[in-house]
Symmetry: D2
């Protein structure tokens, strides 16, 4: 892309060192105006300081948005309706935040007349894909600038030298004390790099930031009761609250009980394997609890169909296809399935474990304690029916056996 | 089926009260000879006492088999290659034992010239289906007698009265002290009934038999290292051992650390929901560890394909289709995928949690620590490639956007 | 079921011999009142004569309904949105009519205070399952009487003798002149039995009723143009018409051109294989045309997801689960996908073949003739992007190759 | 990639104008030695003339291989075991040839010490992907040169000018008389471009090369009988022959009867829709016949599982992943399923239509003409079993109905 054509670019700006260098680099290289966008997604850091930093670099249009509620309500909650897990383990904490940032960046680009967007994701990761697929889907003619794929500041040294030469404060470097590359939002915090690059090395205890170790968790279990409406948590221990408040509260409860740590090697969409560690205290509780409320309210075949489609749904989110028509199509089916998912789940949190200890649904339970006995008065279940059920299900196997069929 | 036609029946005989009553009832009602078959599947109870009981009732052909190794090697291990979980939670501990019992029953029927088999499963559960589908698949003309679907001893009182009147010792009742219906084998122990019939009621601590509570587990974590060959564990902490020994050892380790308890509501194949509690200490460790060794040795798309087919594979086992051609077909694919699944996994067991803390594979790791740097000398990854990758993956979304397509 | 408990039964009554015998048998055996229900589903026979016959047997509540429009609009059309085919060949003509009959039977039972329904399907086929699953889903406490599974009139001779003895006219026998068992409705006509029971035998030309043979079809092709809105055909050759009229017209056009004959062996839900021949002239055209309009209006991944779920959707309908929550859930997704499926398809019909010769969509085409050239002005496609696309898609294969991985 | 590093390149060389220009351009631009590879895949053109042309341009290592048998046996036949169709219509004729060319190119590169390969596919199509994914999978360090993505000879004029200036005969242009871009091999011939770029335009009759029009086909049907072993055709009308001979013969028979024409809009892997016309006479017959032999020899659930996985398998081939581990894994399952697929299929070919008129399998038929009557003597089917079968399958629907559940 010819750099001369860009007039204004909307930059996803954290206020940290890397995106500050990017901001300056965009101004210098593209000679264009930069609009900054800083989002509070619940990462636990102040976002307001980004304003002064951006102003200091001459930015005139500065967006600082609190997106926590939208993030929880319109992205995290819909995803949990699907019981989404990537590769059997990962709760998609980073993946699910990117489409919201992409959407807001495009909205800001549209509002400010920007013809391009820029982000600070590298050329080796998934995040570049997630940002850009979202952006292209929402505004097909947008130009995307990914400095890490373009510039020559590819080493830490050259980057720091650039920063110094332009007067960008080095202490801005986010996660200064940490040897890890981290990403955080209301759903999780992630760690990559450092000693994690050796998949045989155990992370040291000091790495983890959001949860105590199971060893240091309280010796008494914590019980919590979640109320569901249409698959979403609407109250905790009887207190009604918003989606973001639910996530916050569950993060506190989970973190205090050592819940939600994960250490995996995952397959990136760009083709390589990478080691990542994650803390997802609230999300870990939510997944367990959602399956429990579904276990008494969902029809068996609906549940199984959801389970079979889940890996694909999770991959779509992991790979950056939130804004694709196929994700939306799946979502419609998933959302439709949640109409009867109403009721309460009771959980025990203890030293790293979440256990379901009760589930009920006044309006929608399909669990019938009396199925054993209702034969007499209502005729629903006659044990003799089982014989016919088995005989016909066995018929094809018997015919094959008679014909001497042996499959292997 | 006319009772007059049965000459000899092979009975799955536990030696407990229920199957002793069945034994007698078969002799009286069908006037046929009964062959008993008692299996040691690792349930943790003596099987030899069944001999004297059967002899006392006049049985002349008595089979008492130690099937632990076959069970672990040919049933449990193949199933874990698939990472099989039913409905997101259940490790299929009961389900996977039934096809082996069905197979052995048919073998015994063939050896002894029996024309029928009988079992003690009720008409409301899954086990009748698993026994009978297996039996029909392996011997299409077999007759199946399921006394619980036929007789009128349908209450505890009538059953006890029958036993008393025939001199069958009541103290034989298995699980005498327990209010729960239980089933155990090398992979797990299960609990149903009693207060569990209320899905809102938490089971009391005294129910659990195979694991200490997380609260009572040691304050120090236990580390364990598992060695894999072709997807199966072949050694623990450097000590090579058989499949059954692996399961035993992991059950000890897991149980001692409070690992593997599960409390769920599940969907039975016969159409109703039921509450079950399970302890699967070794299996819980195995599932986590197997995913970890696969995470560095399996190709991404192979892993994803396995994940998408897993729910169906698990349902086949749950529903009793182990001996079906479709399960075998899936197994061939799964087994083929395990050729490169070799290496070691290191785990931390602590108060109910299993955490992977390391994984390596000298021969088959696809994890490349140097992927970041091998660009220079080997050209595998050029960050600029990501732009093209994203642009073409976005093309259909962009075209749709230009055409004003909005899916929802 | 005790026959003494049934007070009134709603019978699916064709007016033919078999269901007339059933009517009488119900009156005699159950001593209950019978309500008859006869539907015009486009089978091409008069339904009104059923009235007099029912009256003659003392029936006081007689329902004769023209359901053709509802059948086409609410059953056939939704199914074709999914491109449903069972086992790669069968267009589900019989399967799709049963849920409508089940629904109407239950409605009539509710209106007339009947506590049971009855049908004339045998105990070996799929139709009993389809009727009864529908009935149970729509009214869980309904009693179902399936005379063919209960009575002893199991041979043609005993049935005829029974009819004669009760004064039921034998000439009522439907399909008198045909050696085949047939079923017809707006979507198709089917043939089973007779020489078809030998799967090596070719049906004689005289069997086919709805289509000329390709040999006898016109020597000039017929062109036809179909207009689609949201996946449904709304006009033929510019003439707007209802769903039932669409099916009728396409049946005429297809039948006249020798289109839509099918000769297969299929797998019944009850476990056996059976030979069936079908004529589905209009449906054959519809399937081809629907794929064509989707080919230019549907996103690739949406289309592929539909294709992957289609066999399951088709099996649900074949097996009788139209009224299940899982079918409805899939339908919601399918219907949602059809929003952009608008436009026209032009077809050539000739001696047994349907060929698509044109497709267009003014509002929703995703086909871009200028994709080749729009690089210059809009930047959508840069051939150089393909290199990055390929390189990253190849990355996992290259890493595996370097590590010496060989899958097989 | 720096052009200076390439020493020798193996070129997929058709002998036509485009690849002749590429040959010269490689010599000039890369200053490297070129090895040519020309394959006879059954395209119906002489391959030997390519030798003289290559020699004339100074090529010293010239490979001309007859790959027809390998193509049919190891690529086409395995694919047809899966009943593979892309997007419901396309028989993958071009897609399936590319992996063989990729494999042979790499073999030749290895034999001749070439460090790169080159091909004549454009940057907008699927073939570049198929060639390159195959090449990278089989030799991870190979360099790939795709001139159409690199050079500036992007218009017909510049290309011709280049050819003229280097003395490359213009008459070499393949398909000189045709306005279409074509590709042919034993399985099919394809047409793109020209008026086909308007998806509303019907191709003129003169475009088609391999089949007569249905109008011009014989007025008498042709019957043909195919014999299968393990899913592959081994004999036609009793004459045993090789895979390539089978394809040839069926192409003749199909082409003579107007069979196998297809006109579609398909979704390319690179993200755009494109119009293509295809003639696949033999393949069209093979697909129909293979389904027929499977219909009597395959278990229902095996067949359904194959059907559900087929779209994914077809996409893998379409997208160029023949040499991927996931395609191989699926193939193992598919091949395993074909063990019992033995027998004969009888077909009628007539004016564009293929109809199955008979199928049999002495050794493996699961079709039982007597299933209706074998109840009496063998007890396989008792109509009363159907009641239990239906009742238990309906149980979840009834429970939901009682609880007032309404899904939608």
């Amino acid at each position: 892309m010819s750099s001369s054509n860009v007039k204004k670019v909307a930059l996803a700006y954290s206020g940290g060192l890397d995106t500050s260098v990017i901001l300056k680099w965009l101004q210098e290289t593209y000679g264009c105006e930069v609009v900054t966008f800083t989002a509070d997604l619940g990462q636990g850091e102040e976002v307001e300081p980004a304003r002064a930093k951006a102003q200091a670099m001459g930015v005139r249009e500065i967006y600082i948005d609190d997106l926590r509620e939208e993030f929880a309500r319109d992205f995290v909650f819909p995803m949990f309706r699907a019981n989404a897990i990537y590769e059997g383990e990962y709760l998609l904490g980073t993946s699910i935040a990117r489409p919201l940032i992409a959407k807001r960046l495009i909205e800001i680009a549209n509002e400010t007349g920007a013809d391009a967007i820029a982000h600070g994701a590298t050329g080796k990761g998934n995040d570049q894909v997630r940002f850009e697929l979202g952006a292209y889907a929402l505004r097909p003619d947008i130009r995307v600038i990914a400095p890490w794929r373009e510039w020559d500041l590819t080493s830490r040294e050259t980057l720091l030298a650039y920063a110094e030469s332009r007067g960008i404060p080095i202490e801005m470097k986010r996660g200064n004390a940490s040897p890890y590359s981290m990403d955080a939002n209301l759903l999780h915090i992630s760690y990559e790099g450092g000693i994690l690059e050796d998949p045989w090395a155990e992370p040291e205890e000091t790495m983890w930031r959001w949860s105590v170790s199971p060893e240091n968790a309280p010796d008494q279990p914590t019980y919590v009761e979640l109320a569901y409406e249409h698959g979403d948590i609407v109250a905790i221990d009887g207190e009604r609250m918003t989606a973001a408040a639910v996530l916050s509260r569950l993060n506190q409860l989970g973190g205090a009980n050592g819940i939600g740590r994960l250490d995996i090697v995952e397959n990136r969409y760009v083709g390589m394997k990478s080691r990542g560690c994650y803390e997802t205290p609230g999300g870990t509780i939510m997944l367990k609890a959602h399956r429990a409320i579904e276990s008494i309210t969902l029809d068996r075949e609906v549940a199984h169909l959801k389970d079979e489609l889940m890996p694909r749904y999770a991959s779509l989110i992991y790979n950056g296809y939130w804004w694709s028509p196929e994700r939306r199509m799946l979502q419609q089916m998933i959302d439709a399935s949640q109409a009867p998912v109403n009721g309460e789940v009771r959980l025990k949190l203890y030293k790293g474990s979440v256990s379901v200890v009760g589930r009920k649904s006044e309006s929608n339970s399909l669990f019938d304690m009396n199925i054993a006995t209702f034969e007499d008065d209502r005729g629903a279940y006659d044990q003799k029916d089982a014989e016919g059920f088995i005989k016909l299900n066995a018929l094809r196997l018997r015919i094959a056996g008679r014909k001497g069929a042996s499959f292997v």
